[in-house]
Amino acid sequence: MSILAEADLRLDAGPIDYALLIIYFVVVLGIGVMARRSVSSSLDFLLSGRSLPAWVTGLAFISANLGALELMGMTANGAQYGLATVHYYWIGAIPAMVFLGLVMMPFYYGSKVRSVPEFMRRRFGKPAHLVNAISFAVAQILIAGINLFALAVIIDALLGWPLPVSICVAALVVLAYTTLGGLSAAIYNEVLQFFVIVAALAPLTIVGLIKVGGWQGIVEKVTDQEQLSAWPATELTGINSPVWSVVGLVFGLGFVLSFGYWTTNFAEVQRAMSAKSMSAAKRTPIIGAYPKALIPAIIIIPGIIAALIVPEMAQLKSGDTSGGVAYNDVLPLLMRDLLPNGILGIAITGLLASFMAGVAANVSSFNTVFTYDLWQDYVKKDRPDEYYLRVGRLATVGACVLAIGTAFIAAALGGSNIMDYIQALFSFFNAPLFATFILGMFWKRMTPTAGWVGLLAGTFTAIFIYAISEPSFGIELLELPGQGASFLGAGLAFVVDIVVSVAVSLVTRPKPDSELGGLVYSLTPKADRAHGTTGEDAGWYRSPALLGGGVLALTTVLYFIFG
Protein backbone atom coordinates (compact mmCIF):
# COMPACT_ATOMS: atom_id res chain seq x y z
CA MET A 1 0.00 0.00 0.00
CA SER A 2 1.39 3.36 -0.91
CA ILE A 3 0.14 4.78 2.41
CA LEU A 4 3.58 4.26 3.83
CA ALA A 5 6.21 3.84 1.24
CA GLU A 6 9.91 3.21 1.57
CA ALA A 7 10.95 6.25 3.60
CA ASP A 8 12.01 5.91 7.20
CA LEU A 9 8.76 6.22 9.06
CA ARG A 10 9.73 4.11 12.05
CA LEU A 11 8.89 6.20 15.07
CA ASP A 12 11.17 6.38 18.03
CA ALA A 13 8.62 4.92 20.45
CA GLY A 14 9.97 4.33 23.96
CA PRO A 15 8.65 2.27 26.89
CA ILE A 16 6.47 5.14 28.10
CA ASP A 17 4.75 5.36 24.69
CA TYR A 18 4.00 1.64 24.75
CA ALA A 19 2.67 1.96 28.29
CA LEU A 20 0.20 4.70 27.25
CA LEU A 21 -0.88 2.56 24.30
CA ILE A 22 -1.42 -0.50 26.50
CA ILE A 23 -3.47 1.51 29.03
CA TYR A 24 -5.80 2.50 26.22
CA PHE A 25 -6.35 -1.05 25.05
CA VAL A 26 -6.98 -2.26 28.58
CA VAL A 27 -9.70 0.40 28.93
CA VAL A 28 -11.19 -0.53 25.53
CA LEU A 29 -11.44 -4.19 26.47
CA GLY A 30 -12.72 -3.25 29.92
CA ILE A 31 -15.58 -1.36 28.27
CA GLY A 32 -16.49 -4.52 26.36
CA VAL A 33 -16.55 -6.60 29.54
CA MET A 34 -18.62 -4.02 31.44
CA ALA A 35 -21.04 -3.45 28.56
CA ARG A 36 -21.73 -7.17 28.46
CA ARG A 37 -23.55 -6.93 31.78
CA SER A 38 -26.11 -4.59 30.30
CA VAL A 39 -26.98 -6.81 27.35
CA SER A 40 -30.08 -8.95 27.87
CA SER A 41 -31.84 -8.86 24.51
CA SER A 42 -30.98 -8.66 20.83
CA LEU A 43 -32.11 -5.03 20.79
CA ASP A 44 -29.69 -4.27 23.65
CA PHE A 45 -26.90 -5.90 21.70
CA LEU A 46 -27.68 -4.52 18.25
CA LEU A 47 -29.17 -1.10 19.08
CA SER A 48 -28.01 -0.41 22.65
CA GLY A 49 -31.62 -0.81 23.83
CA ARG A 50 -32.31 2.69 22.43
CA SER A 51 -31.13 4.23 25.68
CA LEU A 52 -28.15 6.49 24.93
CA PRO A 53 -28.02 10.26 25.51
CA ALA A 54 -27.62 12.52 22.48
CA TRP A 55 -24.08 13.77 23.18
CA VAL A 56 -22.84 10.16 23.23
CA THR A 57 -24.58 9.14 20.01
CA GLY A 58 -23.62 12.47 18.43
CA LEU A 59 -19.89 12.03 19.07
CA ALA A 60 -20.11 8.37 18.02
CA PHE A 61 -21.83 9.54 14.83
CA ILE A 62 -18.78 11.45 13.61
CA SER A 63 -16.25 9.09 15.21
CA ALA A 64 -17.61 6.14 13.24
CA ASN A 65 -16.56 8.07 10.16
CA LEU A 66 -13.22 9.23 11.57
CA GLY A 67 -11.33 6.15 10.44
CA ALA A 68 -8.27 5.46 8.33
CA LEU A 69 -9.73 6.92 5.17
CA GLU A 70 -10.63 10.19 6.83
CA LEU A 71 -7.44 10.75 8.84
CA MET A 72 -4.94 9.67 6.19
CA GLY A 73 -7.04 10.92 3.28
CA MET A 74 -7.87 14.39 4.56
CA THR A 75 -4.41 15.22 5.91
CA ALA A 76 -3.10 14.09 2.51
CA ASN A 77 -5.64 16.30 0.72
CA GLY A 78 -4.58 19.18 2.96
CA ALA A 79 -0.95 18.72 1.91
CA GLN A 80 -1.82 18.30 -1.76
CA TYR A 81 -4.73 20.72 -2.36
CA GLY A 82 -4.48 23.06 0.62
CA LEU A 83 -7.46 24.81 2.11
CA ALA A 84 -9.93 23.62 -0.55
CA THR A 85 -10.11 20.38 1.46
CA VAL A 86 -12.50 22.11 3.89
CA HIS A 87 -15.28 21.52 1.34
CA TYR A 88 -15.36 17.87 2.36
CA TYR A 89 -16.42 19.05 5.81
CA TRP A 90 -18.34 22.28 5.45
CA ILE A 91 -20.30 21.63 2.29
CA GLY A 92 -19.80 17.87 2.13
CA ALA A 93 -21.08 16.97 5.58
CA ILE A 94 -22.72 19.72 7.64
CA PRO A 95 -25.87 20.42 5.54
CA ALA A 96 -26.51 16.69 5.10
CA MET A 97 -26.14 16.01 8.83
CA VAL A 98 -28.62 18.78 9.68
CA PHE A 99 -31.02 17.47 7.02
CA LEU A 100 -30.78 13.93 8.42
CA GLY A 101 -31.60 15.17 11.90
CA LEU A 102 -34.46 17.49 11.08
CA VAL A 103 -36.11 15.92 8.04
CA MET A 104 -35.33 12.22 7.86
CA MET A 105 -34.87 11.16 11.46
CA PRO A 106 -38.59 11.56 12.30
CA PHE A 107 -39.30 8.71 9.86
CA TYR A 108 -36.32 6.54 10.79
CA TYR A 109 -36.80 6.81 14.52
CA GLY A 110 -40.56 7.31 14.53
CA SER A 111 -41.28 4.18 12.50
CA LYS A 112 -39.23 2.13 15.00
CA VAL A 113 -37.31 0.36 12.27
CA ARG A 114 -34.09 -1.24 13.44
CA SER A 115 -32.04 -0.56 10.32
CA VAL A 116 -32.03 1.44 7.11
CA PRO A 117 -32.82 -1.66 4.98
CA GLU A 118 -35.78 -2.38 7.26
CA PHE A 119 -37.19 1.05 6.39
CA MET A 120 -36.73 0.04 2.75
CA ARG A 121 -38.73 -3.16 3.30
CA ARG A 122 -41.64 -1.42 4.95
CA ARG A 123 -41.80 1.35 2.39
CA PHE A 124 -41.10 -0.61 -0.81
CA GLY A 125 -41.36 -4.31 0.06
CA LYS A 126 -38.97 -7.22 -0.39
CA PRO A 127 -37.12 -6.79 -3.72
CA ALA A 128 -35.82 -3.31 -2.84
CA HIS A 129 -35.06 -4.50 0.69
CA LEU A 130 -33.03 -7.48 -0.43
CA VAL A 131 -30.99 -5.42 -2.89
CA ASN A 132 -30.24 -2.85 -0.20
CA ALA A 133 -29.50 -5.31 2.64
CA ILE A 134 -27.17 -7.52 0.61
CA SER A 135 -25.22 -4.68 -1.01
CA PHE A 136 -24.81 -2.99 2.36
CA ALA A 137 -23.64 -6.18 4.10
CA VAL A 138 -21.12 -7.00 1.36
CA ALA A 139 -19.81 -3.43 1.25
CA GLN A 140 -19.33 -3.35 5.03
CA ILE A 141 -17.24 -6.54 4.99
CA LEU A 142 -15.08 -5.21 2.16
CA ILE A 143 -14.58 -1.86 3.86
CA ALA A 144 -13.89 -3.52 7.21
CA GLY A 145 -11.15 -5.54 5.52
CA ILE A 146 -9.63 -2.44 3.97
CA ASN A 147 -9.76 -0.56 7.28
CA LEU A 148 -8.16 -3.55 8.97
CA PHE A 149 -5.46 -3.62 6.33
CA ALA A 150 -4.77 0.10 6.73
CA LEU A 151 -4.55 -0.44 10.48
CA ALA A 152 -2.10 -3.29 10.05
CA VAL A 153 0.06 -1.26 7.66
CA ILE A 154 0.36 1.52 10.18
CA ILE A 155 1.17 -0.86 13.04
CA ASP A 156 3.80 -2.40 10.83
CA ALA A 157 5.29 0.97 9.90
CA LEU A 158 5.14 2.54 13.34
CA LEU A 159 5.98 -0.37 15.56
CA GLY A 160 7.56 -2.90 13.21
CA TRP A 161 5.15 -5.83 13.64
CA PRO A 162 4.77 -8.10 10.59
CA LEU A 163 1.59 -7.48 8.58
CA PRO A 164 -0.23 -10.80 9.18
CA VAL A 165 0.36 -10.52 12.92
CA SER A 166 -0.95 -6.99 13.15
CA ILE A 167 -4.03 -7.81 11.01
CA CYS A 168 -4.96 -10.69 13.33
CA VAL A 169 -4.21 -8.82 16.57
CA ALA A 170 -6.28 -5.82 15.48
CA ALA A 171 -9.19 -8.05 14.40
CA LEU A 172 -9.07 -9.90 17.72
CA VAL A 173 -9.29 -6.70 19.76
CA VAL A 174 -12.27 -5.44 17.75
CA LEU A 175 -13.89 -8.86 17.94
CA ALA A 176 -13.39 -9.05 21.69
CA TYR A 177 -15.15 -5.85 22.59
CA THR A 178 -17.92 -5.93 19.99
CA THR A 179 -18.87 -9.56 20.69
CA LEU A 180 -18.99 -8.89 24.40
CA GLY A 181 -20.73 -5.56 24.53
CA GLY A 182 -22.35 -5.15 21.12
CA LEU A 183 -23.22 -1.70 19.86
CA SER A 184 -22.90 -0.10 23.31
CA ALA A 185 -19.24 -1.12 23.50
CA ALA A 186 -18.63 0.05 19.93
CA ILE A 187 -20.30 3.42 20.59
CA TYR A 188 -18.57 3.95 23.95
CA ASN A 189 -15.23 3.28 22.35
CA GLU A 190 -16.06 5.63 19.49
CA VAL A 191 -16.68 8.46 21.96
CA LEU A 192 -13.46 7.67 23.82
CA GLN A 193 -11.64 7.47 20.51
CA PHE A 194 -12.94 10.91 19.53
CA PHE A 195 -11.24 12.49 22.54
CA VAL A 196 -8.03 10.50 22.02
CA ILE A 197 -7.83 11.63 18.38
CA VAL A 198 -8.27 15.25 19.43
CA ALA A 199 -5.62 14.73 22.12
CA ALA A 200 -3.31 13.34 19.46
CA LEU A 201 -3.88 15.93 16.73
CA ALA A 202 -4.23 19.14 18.73
CA PRO A 203 -0.66 19.14 20.16
CA LEU A 204 0.67 18.16 16.73
CA THR A 205 -1.12 21.14 15.17
CA ILE A 206 0.00 23.55 17.87
CA VAL A 207 3.67 22.57 17.71
CA GLY A 208 3.49 22.62 13.91
CA LEU A 209 1.98 26.10 13.91
CA ILE A 210 4.68 27.39 16.25
CA LYS A 211 7.37 25.88 14.07
CA VAL A 212 6.02 27.40 10.87
CA GLY A 213 5.43 30.80 12.47
CA GLY A 214 1.67 30.77 13.00
CA TRP A 215 -1.00 31.36 10.37
CA GLN A 216 1.07 34.34 9.16
CA GLY A 217 3.98 31.99 8.60
CA ILE A 218 1.81 29.70 6.48
CA VAL A 219 0.57 32.61 4.35
CA GLU A 220 4.16 33.77 3.77
CA LYS A 221 5.59 30.34 2.99
CA VAL A 222 2.91 28.90 0.71
CA THR A 223 4.07 29.58 -2.83
CA ASP A 224 0.79 28.94 -4.66
CA GLN A 225 -1.67 31.36 -3.06
CA GLU A 226 -4.62 29.54 -4.64
CA GLN A 227 -3.98 26.81 -2.06
CA LEU A 228 -5.03 29.20 0.66
CA SER A 229 -8.51 29.87 -0.65
CA ALA A 230 -11.34 27.37 -0.59
CA TRP A 231 -13.04 28.47 -3.82
CA PRO A 232 -13.21 27.60 -6.69
CA ALA A 233 -11.14 24.49 -5.91
CA THR A 234 -10.35 23.67 -9.53
CA GLU A 235 -7.43 21.45 -8.50
CA LEU A 236 -9.63 19.41 -6.20
CA THR A 237 -12.46 18.85 -8.67
CA GLY A 238 -10.31 18.54 -11.76
CA ILE A 239 -12.77 20.85 -13.54
CA ASN A 240 -10.93 23.73 -15.21
CA SER A 241 -13.78 26.21 -15.44
CA PRO A 242 -14.15 27.94 -12.06
CA VAL A 243 -17.93 28.26 -12.48
CA TRP A 244 -18.44 24.56 -13.23
CA SER A 245 -16.02 23.64 -10.50
CA VAL A 246 -18.23 25.44 -7.99
CA VAL A 247 -21.36 23.85 -9.48
CA GLY A 248 -19.71 20.43 -9.22
CA LEU A 249 -18.82 21.08 -5.60
CA VAL A 250 -22.21 22.37 -4.54
CA PHE A 251 -24.41 19.93 -6.44
CA GLY A 252 -22.13 16.87 -6.71
CA LEU A 253 -20.30 16.87 -3.40
CA GLY A 254 -22.56 19.10 -1.34
CA PHE A 255 -25.88 17.70 -2.41
CA VAL A 256 -25.85 14.23 -3.92
CA LEU A 257 -22.70 12.57 -2.60
CA SER A 258 -22.85 13.91 0.91
CA PHE A 259 -26.61 13.58 1.37
CA GLY A 260 -26.40 10.06 -0.02
CA TYR A 261 -23.59 9.11 2.34
CA TRP A 262 -24.77 10.69 5.59
CA THR A 263 -28.50 10.00 5.32
CA THR A 264 -28.65 6.42 4.03
CA ASN A 265 -25.46 4.79 5.28
CA PHE A 266 -26.64 2.55 8.10
CA ALA A 267 -23.22 2.53 9.81
CA GLU A 268 -23.91 6.22 10.52
CA VAL A 269 -27.68 6.21 10.96
CA GLN A 270 -27.47 3.30 13.42
CA ARG A 271 -25.79 5.61 15.94
CA ALA A 272 -28.81 7.93 15.89
CA MET A 273 -31.27 5.01 16.06
CA SER A 274 -29.72 3.94 19.35
CA ALA A 275 -30.60 7.30 20.98
CA LYS A 276 -33.05 7.27 23.86
CA SER A 277 -35.80 9.51 22.48
CA MET A 278 -37.01 11.15 19.28
CA SER A 279 -35.47 14.42 20.44
CA ALA A 280 -32.11 12.77 21.13
CA ALA A 281 -32.24 10.95 17.78
CA LYS A 282 -32.87 14.21 15.90
CA ARG A 283 -30.08 15.93 17.82
CA THR A 284 -27.54 13.12 17.23
CA PRO A 285 -26.28 14.14 13.77
CA ILE A 286 -26.69 17.83 14.60
CA ILE A 287 -24.58 17.60 17.76
CA GLY A 288 -22.03 15.66 15.72
CA ALA A 289 -22.01 18.47 13.13
CA TYR A 290 -20.42 20.95 15.55
CA PRO A 291 -17.13 19.08 16.05
CA LYS A 292 -17.29 18.06 12.39
CA ALA A 293 -17.29 21.76 11.39
CA LEU A 294 -14.29 22.53 13.61
CA ILE A 295 -12.13 19.43 13.23
CA PRO A 296 -10.55 20.55 9.91
CA ALA A 297 -8.44 22.84 12.11
CA ILE A 298 -6.52 19.83 13.43
CA ILE A 299 -6.69 17.67 10.28
CA ILE A 300 -6.22 19.96 7.27
CA ILE A 301 -3.85 22.50 8.86
CA PRO A 302 -1.31 19.78 9.80
CA GLY A 303 -1.46 18.69 6.16
CA ILE A 304 -0.71 22.20 4.93
CA ILE A 305 2.08 22.58 7.51
CA ALA A 306 3.64 19.23 6.60
CA ALA A 307 4.02 20.37 2.99
CA LEU A 308 6.04 23.34 4.31
CA ILE A 309 8.23 21.92 7.07
CA VAL A 310 8.75 18.21 6.39
CA PRO A 311 11.59 18.05 3.85
CA GLU A 312 10.38 14.86 2.12
CA MET A 313 6.88 16.31 1.80
CA ALA A 314 8.12 19.63 0.38
CA GLN A 315 10.18 17.67 -2.13
CA LEU A 316 7.09 15.64 -3.16
CA LYS A 317 5.03 18.78 -3.48
CA SER A 318 7.58 20.33 -5.83
CA GLY A 319 6.99 17.40 -8.16
CA ASP A 320 9.97 15.23 -7.22
CA THR A 321 8.65 11.76 -6.36
CA SER A 322 12.02 10.18 -5.65
CA GLY A 323 11.82 10.81 -1.89
CA GLY A 324 9.83 7.61 -1.29
CA VAL A 325 6.94 9.25 0.57
CA ALA A 326 3.30 9.71 -0.37
CA TYR A 327 0.83 12.39 0.68
CA ASN A 328 -0.77 9.77 2.92
CA ASP A 329 2.34 9.81 5.12
CA VAL A 330 1.66 13.29 6.50
CA LEU A 331 0.72 12.26 10.04
CA PRO A 332 3.52 9.77 10.74
CA LEU A 333 6.09 12.20 9.30
CA LEU A 334 4.86 15.09 11.45
CA MET A 335 4.77 12.86 14.53
CA ARG A 336 8.34 11.75 13.81
CA ASP A 337 9.56 15.33 13.45
CA LEU A 338 7.63 17.17 16.15
CA LEU A 339 6.56 14.98 19.07
CA PRO A 340 8.79 13.86 21.95
CA ASN A 341 8.17 10.59 23.81
CA GLY A 342 5.09 10.71 25.98
CA ILE A 343 2.82 12.73 23.73
CA LEU A 344 4.13 10.56 20.90
CA GLY A 345 2.52 7.58 22.64
CA ILE A 346 -0.81 9.42 22.77
CA ALA A 347 -0.54 10.23 19.08
CA ILE A 348 0.18 6.60 18.15
CA THR A 349 -2.75 5.55 20.34
CA GLY A 350 -4.99 8.06 18.59
CA LEU A 351 -4.10 6.76 15.13
CA LEU A 352 -4.61 3.11 16.09
CA ALA A 353 -7.85 3.91 17.95
CA SER A 354 -9.20 5.74 14.92
CA PHE A 355 -8.47 2.91 12.51
CA MET A 356 -9.89 0.33 14.89
CA ALA A 357 -13.11 2.23 15.45
CA GLY A 358 -13.60 2.29 11.70
CA VAL A 359 -13.52 -1.52 11.66
CA ALA A 360 -15.83 -1.71 14.69
CA ALA A 361 -18.40 0.55 13.02
CA ASN A 362 -18.42 -1.67 9.93
CA VAL A 363 -18.74 -4.83 12.02
CA SER A 364 -21.45 -3.53 14.35
CA SER A 365 -23.66 -2.28 11.51
CA PHE A 366 -23.07 -5.47 9.53
CA ASN A 367 -24.26 -7.71 12.35
CA THR A 368 -27.51 -5.75 12.77
CA VAL A 369 -28.36 -5.92 9.07
CA PHE A 370 -27.34 -9.58 8.91
CA THR A 371 -29.39 -10.55 11.97
CA TYR A 372 -32.57 -8.55 11.45
CA ASP A 373 -32.69 -7.99 7.70
CA LEU A 374 -31.23 -11.17 6.29
CA TRP A 375 -31.45 -13.95 8.88
CA GLN A 376 -34.73 -13.00 10.58
CA ASP A 377 -36.53 -11.93 7.38
CA TYR A 378 -35.41 -14.61 4.95
CA VAL A 379 -33.95 -17.57 6.86
CA LYS A 380 -35.43 -18.20 10.34
CA LYS A 381 -38.51 -16.24 11.31
CA ASP A 382 -40.36 -16.18 14.62
CA ARG A 383 -37.69 -17.51 16.95
CA PRO A 384 -37.41 -16.26 20.54
CA ASP A 385 -35.27 -13.19 21.05
CA GLU A 386 -32.38 -15.11 22.70
CA TYR A 387 -31.97 -16.90 19.40
CA TYR A 388 -31.39 -13.61 17.55
CA LEU A 389 -29.05 -12.34 20.25
CA ARG A 390 -26.97 -15.46 19.64
CA VAL A 391 -27.14 -14.93 15.86
CA GLY A 392 -25.96 -11.34 16.41
CA ARG A 393 -22.94 -12.52 18.39
CA LEU A 394 -22.07 -15.20 15.86
CA ALA A 395 -22.48 -12.69 13.02
CA THR A 396 -19.89 -10.50 14.76
CA VAL A 397 -17.42 -13.38 14.88
CA GLY A 398 -18.18 -14.20 11.25
CA ALA A 399 -17.72 -10.57 10.21
CA CYS A 400 -14.30 -10.35 11.86
CA VAL A 401 -13.12 -13.60 10.27
CA LEU A 402 -14.36 -12.47 6.85
CA ALA A 403 -12.74 -9.06 7.37
CA ILE A 404 -9.39 -10.75 8.04
CA GLY A 405 -9.90 -12.51 4.71
CA THR A 406 -10.73 -9.31 2.83
CA ALA A 407 -7.80 -7.58 4.56
CA PHE A 408 -5.43 -10.18 3.09
CA ILE A 409 -7.07 -9.74 -0.31
CA ALA A 410 -6.53 -5.99 0.03
CA ALA A 411 -2.91 -6.64 0.97
CA ALA A 412 -2.44 -8.92 -2.04
CA LEU A 413 -3.98 -6.39 -4.42
CA GLY A 414 -1.78 -3.62 -3.14
CA GLY A 415 -4.11 -1.47 -1.10
CA SER A 416 -4.53 2.16 -1.89
CA ASN A 417 -6.13 1.73 -5.30
CA ILE A 418 -8.89 -0.59 -4.19
CA MET A 419 -9.58 1.67 -1.24
CA ASP A 420 -10.39 4.39 -3.78
CA TYR A 421 -12.44 2.00 -5.90
CA ILE A 422 -14.54 0.76 -3.00
CA GLN A 423 -15.15 4.30 -1.86
CA ALA A 424 -16.24 5.26 -5.37
CA LEU A 425 -18.51 2.23 -5.71
CA PHE A 426 -20.00 2.75 -2.28
CA SER A 427 -20.82 6.37 -3.07
CA PHE A 428 -22.50 5.19 -6.26
CA PHE A 429 -24.81 2.98 -4.23
CA ASN A 430 -25.58 5.83 -1.85
CA ALA A 431 -26.53 8.53 -4.36
CA PRO A 432 -29.42 6.56 -5.93
CA LEU A 433 -30.41 5.25 -2.51
CA PHE A 434 -30.83 8.82 -1.32
CA ALA A 435 -32.98 9.65 -4.37
CA THR A 436 -35.22 6.64 -3.71
CA PHE A 437 -35.53 7.44 -0.01
CA ILE A 438 -36.31 11.07 -0.39
CA LEU A 439 -38.89 10.48 -3.13
CA GLY A 440 -40.44 7.62 -1.16
CA MET A 441 -40.66 9.69 2.01
CA PHE A 442 -42.44 12.61 0.38
CA TRP A 443 -44.47 11.07 -2.46
CA LYS A 444 -46.94 8.44 -1.34
CA ARG A 445 -47.74 7.51 -4.94
CA MET A 446 -44.25 6.01 -5.43
CA THR A 447 -44.74 2.28 -5.94
CA PRO A 448 -42.78 -0.76 -4.68
CA THR A 449 -41.75 -1.58 -8.26
CA ALA A 450 -40.40 1.94 -8.73
CA GLY A 451 -38.42 1.41 -5.51
CA TRP A 452 -36.15 -1.28 -6.88
CA VAL A 453 -36.22 -0.32 -10.58
CA GLY A 454 -35.18 3.27 -9.79
CA LEU A 455 -32.42 2.05 -7.51
CA LEU A 456 -30.95 -0.26 -10.15
CA ALA A 457 -31.25 2.38 -12.89
CA GLY A 458 -29.41 4.93 -10.73
CA THR A 459 -26.66 2.51 -9.78
CA PHE A 460 -26.07 1.44 -13.38
CA THR A 461 -25.88 5.08 -14.45
CA ALA A 462 -23.17 5.75 -11.87
CA ILE A 463 -21.23 2.65 -12.87
CA PHE A 464 -21.48 3.68 -16.53
CA ILE A 465 -20.04 7.14 -15.85
CA TYR A 466 -17.28 5.56 -13.78
CA ALA A 467 -16.45 3.13 -16.57
CA ILE A 468 -16.12 5.80 -19.25
CA SER A 469 -14.04 8.17 -17.13
CA GLU A 470 -11.65 5.80 -15.34
CA PRO A 471 -8.36 5.90 -17.26
CA SER A 472 -7.34 2.31 -16.43
CA PHE A 473 -10.39 0.89 -18.26
CA GLY A 474 -9.15 2.25 -21.56
CA ILE A 475 -12.49 3.71 -22.73
CA GLU A 476 -11.86 7.20 -21.50
CA LEU A 477 -14.65 9.20 -23.15
CA LEU A 478 -14.73 11.75 -20.32
CA GLU A 479 -11.58 13.36 -19.06
CA LEU A 480 -12.10 14.30 -15.45
CA PRO A 481 -9.17 13.91 -13.09
CA GLY A 482 -9.55 14.56 -9.38
CA GLN A 483 -13.00 14.05 -7.89
CA GLY A 484 -14.95 15.45 -10.84
CA ALA A 485 -15.99 12.05 -12.22
CA SER A 486 -17.57 10.84 -9.00
CA PHE A 487 -19.38 14.18 -8.55
CA LEU A 488 -20.81 13.85 -12.06
CA GLY A 489 -21.63 10.15 -11.68
CA ALA A 490 -23.43 10.67 -8.41
CA GLY A 491 -25.35 13.67 -9.74
CA LEU A 492 -26.54 11.81 -12.85
CA ALA A 493 -27.38 8.69 -10.81
CA PHE A 494 -29.60 10.84 -8.62
CA VAL A 495 -31.41 12.44 -11.56
CA VAL A 496 -31.88 9.13 -13.42
CA ASP A 497 -33.18 7.45 -10.27
CA ILE A 498 -35.78 10.20 -9.75
CA VAL A 499 -36.90 10.22 -13.41
CA VAL A 500 -37.16 6.43 -13.66
CA SER A 501 -38.93 6.15 -10.30
CA VAL A 502 -41.54 8.73 -11.29
CA ALA A 503 -42.09 7.11 -14.68
CA VAL A 504 -42.44 3.59 -13.26
CA SER A 505 -44.69 4.82 -10.46
CA LEU A 506 -47.16 6.29 -12.93
CA VAL A 507 -47.75 2.92 -14.58
CA THR A 508 -47.63 0.58 -11.56
CA ARG A 509 -49.80 0.16 -8.49
CA PRO A 510 -48.92 2.05 -5.26
CA LYS A 511 -49.22 0.57 -1.78
CA PRO A 512 -52.50 1.37 0.00
CA ASP A 513 -52.30 4.39 2.31
CA SER A 514 -53.02 2.19 5.34
CA GLU A 515 -49.60 0.49 5.00
CA LEU A 516 -47.60 3.71 4.74
CA GLY A 517 -48.36 5.44 8.06
CA GLY A 518 -45.14 6.66 9.71
CA LEU A 519 -43.18 6.07 6.49
CA VAL A 520 -44.46 8.86 4.23
CA TYR A 521 -44.72 12.53 5.11
CA SER A 522 -48.35 13.15 4.14
CA LEU A 523 -49.58 10.01 5.94
CA THR A 524 -47.72 10.59 9.21
CA PRO A 525 -49.63 12.69 11.74
CA LYS A 526 -47.62 15.67 12.92
CA ALA A 527 -47.66 14.34 16.47
CA ASP A 528 -45.76 11.22 15.35
CA ARG A 529 -42.98 13.29 13.86
CA ALA A 530 -42.72 15.69 16.80
CA HIS A 531 -40.24 15.12 19.62
CA GLY A 532 -40.87 15.35 23.35
CA THR A 533 -39.96 18.58 25.12
CA THR A 534 -40.18 17.42 28.72
CA GLY A 535 -37.75 15.90 31.24
CA GLU A 536 -34.40 15.07 29.62
CA ASP A 537 -35.56 16.68 26.38
CA ALA A 538 -36.65 20.01 27.89
CA GLY A 539 -34.96 23.38 27.40
CA TRP A 540 -34.59 25.70 24.40
CA TYR A 541 -30.95 24.64 23.99
CA ARG A 542 -32.13 21.11 23.21
CA SER A 543 -34.28 22.21 20.28
CA PRO A 544 -33.05 20.31 17.19
CA ALA A 545 -34.07 23.11 14.82
CA LEU A 546 -32.21 25.74 16.84
CA LEU A 547 -29.08 23.58 17.11
CA GLY A 548 -29.27 22.83 13.38
CA GLY A 549 -29.61 26.51 12.51
CA GLY A 550 -26.68 27.26 14.79
CA VAL A 551 -24.28 24.90 13.07
CA LEU A 552 -25.31 26.13 9.62
CA ALA A 553 -24.62 29.69 10.77
CA LEU A 554 -21.26 28.63 12.22
CA THR A 555 -20.30 26.99 8.92
CA THR A 556 -21.29 30.09 6.95
CA VAL A 557 -19.14 32.26 9.19
CA LEU A 558 -16.20 29.85 8.77
CA TYR A 559 -16.59 30.07 4.99
CA PHE A 560 -16.50 33.86 5.19
CA ILE A 561 -13.30 33.79 7.23
CA PHE A 562 -11.42 31.07 5.33
CA GLY A 563 -13.22 31.01 1.95
Binding site: L192, P203, V207, P340, G342
Partner: protein, 78 residues
Amino acid sequence: MRLFDLRLIIAFLFGLYGVVLVVIGLGFTSDDDLKKAEGVNINLWAGIAMAVLAAVFAAWATLRPQFADTDKQPLKEL
Protein backbone atom coordinates in the same frame (compact mmCIF):
# COMPACT_ATOMS: atom_id res chain seq x y z
CA MET B 1 -30.74 -2.07 29.99
CA ARG B 2 -28.39 -0.83 32.64
CA LEU B 3 -25.43 1.04 31.25
CA PHE B 4 -22.44 2.26 33.21
CA ASP B 5 -21.49 5.91 33.05
CA LEU B 6 -19.17 6.63 30.14
CA ARG B 7 -18.21 10.01 31.62
CA LEU B 8 -16.34 8.29 34.46
CA ILE B 9 -14.33 6.21 32.01
CA ILE B 10 -13.34 9.32 30.06
CA ALA B 11 -12.36 11.00 33.35
CA PHE B 12 -10.33 7.95 34.39
CA LEU B 13 -8.41 7.56 31.12
CA PHE B 14 -7.57 11.22 30.67
CA GLY B 15 -6.84 11.72 34.36
CA LEU B 16 -4.25 8.97 34.12
CA TYR B 17 -2.84 10.27 30.83
CA GLY B 18 -2.74 13.82 32.23
CA VAL B 19 -0.78 12.83 35.33
CA VAL B 20 1.71 10.73 33.37
CA LEU B 21 2.35 13.49 30.85
CA VAL B 22 2.73 16.19 33.51
CA VAL B 23 5.27 14.02 35.34
CA ILE B 24 7.22 13.45 32.11
CA GLY B 25 6.97 17.13 31.27
CA LEU B 26 8.26 18.28 34.64
CA GLY B 27 10.80 15.60 35.46
CA PHE B 28 11.93 13.79 32.34
CA THR B 29 12.16 16.31 29.53
CA SER B 30 15.57 16.56 27.87
CA ASP B 31 16.86 19.45 25.80
CA ASP B 32 16.47 17.28 22.70
CA ASP B 33 12.78 16.81 23.49
CA LEU B 34 12.35 20.55 23.84
CA LYS B 35 14.22 21.24 20.63
CA LYS B 36 12.04 18.75 18.74
CA ALA B 37 8.88 20.61 19.77
CA GLU B 38 10.26 24.08 19.05
CA GLY B 39 11.00 24.84 22.69
CA VAL B 40 7.51 24.04 23.89
CA ASN B 41 7.20 21.61 26.77
CA ILE B 42 4.38 19.90 24.91
CA ASN B 43 4.10 16.98 27.34
CA LEU B 44 3.48 19.35 30.24
CA TRP B 45 0.89 21.46 28.44
CA ALA B 46 -0.94 18.54 26.85
CA GLY B 47 -0.91 16.80 30.25
CA ILE B 48 -2.48 19.81 31.95
CA ALA B 49 -5.15 20.05 29.23
CA MET B 50 -6.01 16.37 29.63
CA ALA B 51 -6.21 16.66 33.39
CA VAL B 52 -8.63 19.58 32.99
CA LEU B 53 -10.76 17.53 30.57
CA ALA B 54 -10.82 14.68 33.11
CA ALA B 55 -11.86 17.06 35.88
CA VAL B 56 -14.70 18.48 33.78
CA PHE B 57 -16.12 15.03 33.04
CA ALA B 58 -15.73 13.92 36.66
CA ALA B 59 -17.53 17.03 37.87
CA TRP B 60 -20.32 16.58 35.33
CA ALA B 61 -20.85 12.95 36.35
CA THR B 62 -20.91 13.93 40.02
CA LEU B 63 -23.30 16.85 39.63
CA ARG B 64 -25.70 15.14 37.19
CA PRO B 65 -25.52 11.42 37.99
CA GLN B 66 -28.34 10.40 35.59
CA PHE B 67 -26.69 8.98 32.46
CA ALA B 68 -28.54 6.54 30.21
CA ASP B 69 -32.25 5.80 30.28
CA THR B 70 -32.10 2.94 32.70
CA ASP B 71 -35.80 2.35 33.30
CA LYS B 72 -36.85 2.29 29.70
CA GLN B 73 -39.47 -0.25 28.75
CA PRO B 74 -38.21 -2.68 26.12
CA LEU B 75 -39.72 -1.88 22.76
CA LYS B 76 -42.32 -4.24 21.43
CA GLU B 77 -40.83 -6.53 18.82
CA LEU B 78 -41.98 -5.61 15.37
